[in-house]
Symmetry: C2
Subunit: 358 residues, 2 copies
């Protein structure tokens, strides 16, 4: 395996790290490459925890910024190795991970190598297992083993945001809404009670639900309440006694986890509701002084982030955090995942403009 050349262009680094598959649970090869490359840099102190690598400057600056990106991807579906393609005259790098989020990681790696003398101290964090259960996320593990490494005044996650700055993120709640009936042979259905039929009002409430759009610190967060799974049925000649609808509620960061739960219980009043997963969102945090400086330096108009990202983790630790990375989030996990080359370059320039000591 050749070493990673961090003096290459951020496009070439993106290509190199996308062509090393790193589906969740299989990040070690890529983590080793990153580890080797950053340990060669004398201005960084490197910590390794599993397949998470933390590289810090220790220059005694009055402020510290954490810049993080996950190195795992969702499963490959015939879209590795990467290809250079052109769409409507625009150059793209196509393939798994180009958007979510190895182009963001590539820019971070390049700047980690280049910025030996940044204007703030930097904590670079590249971590594993973001695309699976939160419990397995490399940052969840690191927060237990080395919480001190999270100390920072501001954080930037390189999640795809079309090269824009996306503040905060929506929260997410999952719940199972279920009905119960009584089994019977379907030839004598009047003996039983059909749990699937009883679920009609659940689907009706979902289909009639009008999601709110909520202003939080000047950004408009759009919510959503959706069934993501439904299941019921015992056998093709049996009246089913259970039907379960899994719903996912994405809620604005102005709602607390408790308020989100109460809202879902209210929507499905009269039904059994079991909360299976609940992560509060993160307020944009754009009023922090470092955030204001950052916005001014990159010249960006902030937008809301709808998807939950690890900014919420920093936010919950009291560190204002934003998303800033190349790539269209709509193409994340897509088989036609591809990143505009121009966005890789603009994010690189944006971060450099803010972080370089002038």
């Amino acid at each position: 395996m050749p070493q990673l050349d961090l003096t290459a262009t951020s496009l070439d680094i993106t290509r190199a790290i996308c062509d090393v598959p790193s589906v969740s649970d299989d990040e070690t090869t890529l983590a080793d490459l990153i580890d080797d490359a950053v340990r060669a840099l004398p201005h960084l102190t490197v910590h390794r925890d599993g397949d998470t690598i933390v590289a810090r400057t220790e220059l005694g600056r009055p402020q510290r910024v954490a810049i993080a990106g996950h190195i795992d991807t969702v499963p490959i579906n015939g879209n590795v190795p990467t290809r250079d393609i052109e769409v409507d005259g625009e150059a793209f790098l196509w393939g798994r991970g180009t958007v979510d989020m190895k182009s963001g990681v590539a820019v971070q790696l390049k700047l980690a190598a280049e910025l030996a003398d940044p204007r703030v101290d930097l904590t670079w964090m590249w971590y594993d297992h973001e695309e699976v259960d939160a419990e397995r996320n490399g940052l969840t593990r690191l927060a237990r083993t080395r919480p001190d490494l999270f100390a920072a005044d501001f954080a930037i996650l390189g999640e795809p945001s079309n090269g824009e700055v996306e503040g905060g993120c929506n929260g997410t709640l999952r719940a199972v809404v279920s009905t119960r009936g009584v089994r019977a042979h379907s030839a004598r259905s009047w003996i039983g009670e059909n749990a699937i039929h009883k679920a009609a009002p659940i689907l009706l409430r979902l289909s009639e639900y009008r999601a709110r759009e909520i202003d939080v610190d000047g950004l408009a967060y759009r919510e959503g309440l959706n069934a993501v799974h439904i299941g019921g049925g015992v056998a093709s000649n049996v009246i089913p006694d259970v039907c379960a609808v899994e719903v996912n509620y994405r809620f604005a960061p102005s709602r607390s986890a408790e308020e989100a739960e109460a809202h879902v219980r209210d929507v499905f009043a009269g039904f059994d509701v079991e909360i299976s997963d609940l992560s509060p969102g993160a307020r944009p945090g754009l009023d922090a002084p470092l955030a204001q400086q950052f916005l001014a330096a990159v010249g960006a108009e902030p937008r809301p982030k709808y998807g939950w990202t690890d900014v919420a983790r920093f936010s919950a630790m009291g560190v204002p955090a934003v998303n800033y990375g190349p790539g269209d989030p709509h193409l994340a996990h897509h088989d036609e995942e591809r990143v505009p080359v121009s966005q890789i370059e603009s994010v690189e320039h944006g971060l450099r403009a803010w972080l370089a000591n002038r």
Copy 2:
């Protein structure tokens, strides 16, 4: 393995054949026992096809009656071997197959051995794979390989009917009613279309559906339209693009298969409906002269049969057919499956009363 003693009581024969497990696909041991026992009877000519056994008298009588029962059961769930129990002072034989339908088969075996000189020629049929797909049913196979063995003027299926005569049977139709949407990440649900939400009217129509009760040849057939399965969902963060509801329509024997299909398509107008299974019912056939004689001999008031049984197969071949067997059909497939000893005896007496030459 001891031989089957067909001179034992029908209760003891029921016990013996229930204690030889014969879940669908595993009928050979029991089929061999039956085969050995009936080949020892000089008044019967025996044919074997897989695990289906046909034993015929060939006495040159002007009329022939087919009497049939399946020897397979649904899976055992801790309810073999059988036990003698008492419920509210009444004696029962408890265990898998006691109702569906080894007590009926036991009565048939006993009478097959005893009635060397019946008043009509008899075709006894004991067959495999009734509890699974119709395509694997032993009678389906036999109808292809030896259709001549089905020749008869009247047929009696020993399916559980509480010792009453149940005429004909409802038809059954299965269909998959489905919706389509557009996948999207659930954090940006407004990009997609939720196929599960779109299924709300399907469940609503099912829950509001009022099934008909239809008089056919003097018997009241109760229909039913039910969801038996529902499924949809891609992943817990994806707006689902497909939702499928499997429905089962049980329809009176006065409706043709085509009418049943048209009715279901009408109920779910506007949705994609795919018919997956369709078996017409059987009219009671109680106006046949042999049926009238049979009813008079056993002294029974006929009732409608709701569940589909192989009487429909005979009916479709032009042979009027009824269900007549011990056991409460509500307890078929039940973990507490149990048959009243008195019903085993009354069915034995009823059949003997009609078939014995006096």
